[in-house]
């Protein structure tokens, strides 16, 4: 696991040596700020619930931009070869990259905590709901990053990785939204697979183990698949 730390550090540095980190942080701040002010004006409620509901959409677009280069770039430039011939395991590499992208995701959403200070200043927000929302947001980030990483691992082209990643995350969002409020086994399955329903629970201030299990196990499964894909160069 020591190599995970080494990879993590390099990847995080690479983000801040390229424009990607600054671009996604700036774009996210603009949109989240916009949603926050609009929702605050509309609802007059001192809560992040509504504005965060919209941020899932923008996160579905920005997270694949964060993850697109993780494996695709190494595959394209061939740096995967010296990397994988160093004494590191495939898992250490994949996990280090995952953690770096997840860290950048968390850095990206961190400025929204400023809105809490604002809410506290204008009124009396429900801190429990806010903390739960952030737990949900962070867990959801892990899932989004692992999906983006998976897509990045199967291509040499970063743009392709970003586009497929965005489409995949939007599908996950849409099937969750579309099945909300509907009954039947199909809808409830879709609702379970989709990210929206789970995340909404968090925004209501409820940290339900089922939702935590959903995010954590889905993320773990995806990382497991990514490791297999990275290994697959061995039998291709």
């Amino acid at each position: 696991m020591t190599s995970t730390g080494t990879i993590f550090q390099r990847e995080l540095n690479a983000y801040f040596l390229s424009p990607i980190a600054y671009v996604v942080i700036a774009v996210f701040m603009v949109f989240s700020g916009y949603f926050f002010s609009v929702m605050l004006g509309l609802t007059q409620e001192t809560t992040l619930r509504y504005s965060l509901a919209y941020t899932q959409f923008i996160l579905s677009i920005l997270t694949p931009v964060i993850t697109m280069r993780l494996m695709a770039e190494e595959n394209k430039t061939g740096t995967i070869e010296p990397l994988m011939t160093a004494p590191v395991t495939d898992f250490e590499v994949v996990f280090g990259k995952f953690l770096a992208a997840w860290a950048l995701y968390n850095v990206m959403i961190a400025p929204t905590t400023f809105y809490i200070a604002f809410l506290a200043w204008v009124g009396n927000p429900d801190y429990g709901a806010i903390i739960a929302s952030y737990i949900g947001l962070i867990l959801m980030g892990g899932l989004f990053v692992s999906i983006g990483l998976l897509v990045s691992a199967v291509t040499k082209n970063q743009i392709v990785a970003a586009v497929i990643g965005i489409v995949a995350l939007l599908i996950l969002l849409v099937i969750g939204l579309a099945s909300a409020g509907n009954e039947g086994w199909l809808y409830s399955t879709l609702k379970y697979i989709g990210t929206y329903d789970h995340w909404e629970t968090f925004t209501k201030g409820i940290v339900d183990t089922r939702d935590v299990v959903y995010y954590v196990s889905f993320t773990a499964l995806l990382l497991f698949i990514v490791v297999r894909i990275v290994e697959s160069r061995r039998w291709r």
């Binding site: 080494t6 390099r10 070869e81 994988m84 011939t85 160093a86 004494p87 395991t89 039998w235």
Partner: protein
Amino acid sequence: MIKVEHLAKRYADVYAVNDISFEVHQGEIVGLLGPNGAGKTTTMRILTCYMPATSGSANVAGYDVFRESINVRKQIGYLPENVPLYPEMRVREYLLFRAKLKKLPSRERKSKIDECIEKCSITEVQNQIIGTLSKGYRQRVGLADTLVHDPKILILDEPTIGLDPNQIRQVRQLIKELGAKHTILLSTHILPEVEMLCERVIIINKGKIVAMDTPTNLAIQLRAGNNLVLEVRGNGEKIKNALTNIKSVKKVVWQDKGEISNFTVEAEKGADVREDVFSNIVKNNGIIREMKQASITLEEIFHQITMREQEVTT
């Protein structure tokens, strides 16, 4: 140090490497020589555990490349073809990253990196961004990386490709120096490089080993299998048949240029057929305009060996 047995690698339905076996002993510098697509890179990728063989086995520094891959990787420094590097990193920062990745203890890192930088003459670019380096410097950064954990074995895939003559000389000199401390397997398709650097040559073509010996022995071997080059005026057809019938002549290549013919006569090892050739041509009313014994450089060996293979397979 390296022991390869019946190694084969298949991509889809073509064999990139097909049943090769060889050994590299401690302290040797061995050259893997072959034309494009011969299977050099594939062989090296198997040895460095980048990908597994389809069949056969390879043992590096006492460890099996498939089952003990992490141990193998600790013992080797690998310079991949074209030296892929992270363009956004600085040279020193990159070497530090690699040293950590290769589990060099933290107290040794600085001194070891300094040593590698010094050895590979990259002191003046150590704080430069890799993306801005010239090809020659990139190559040397790659070499510094292979050395950073002081591996027993260096595997270098075309270490001088794409360099200018001056840089080529410097890199070769460096490899030669490294040969004193490390066992080296390098690949190339440049012959003088092998003659200059290697104690042993393995020539591969189309995934198969076609020759394996010291550069000098290879030359002797081929010279022993005498080649005579002739220019003759006369009936080419008749002369060719006569020459082919000489005992201990293995092969005659006839280039018909009308009145004048060129022949290449290949005799068996050690046999001297010059007099027989002469009398047979005279008997058939040919006039010998030129007869010379081909002295063979490694370049020609390489050419011949790989050509011969093609004649066999096509």
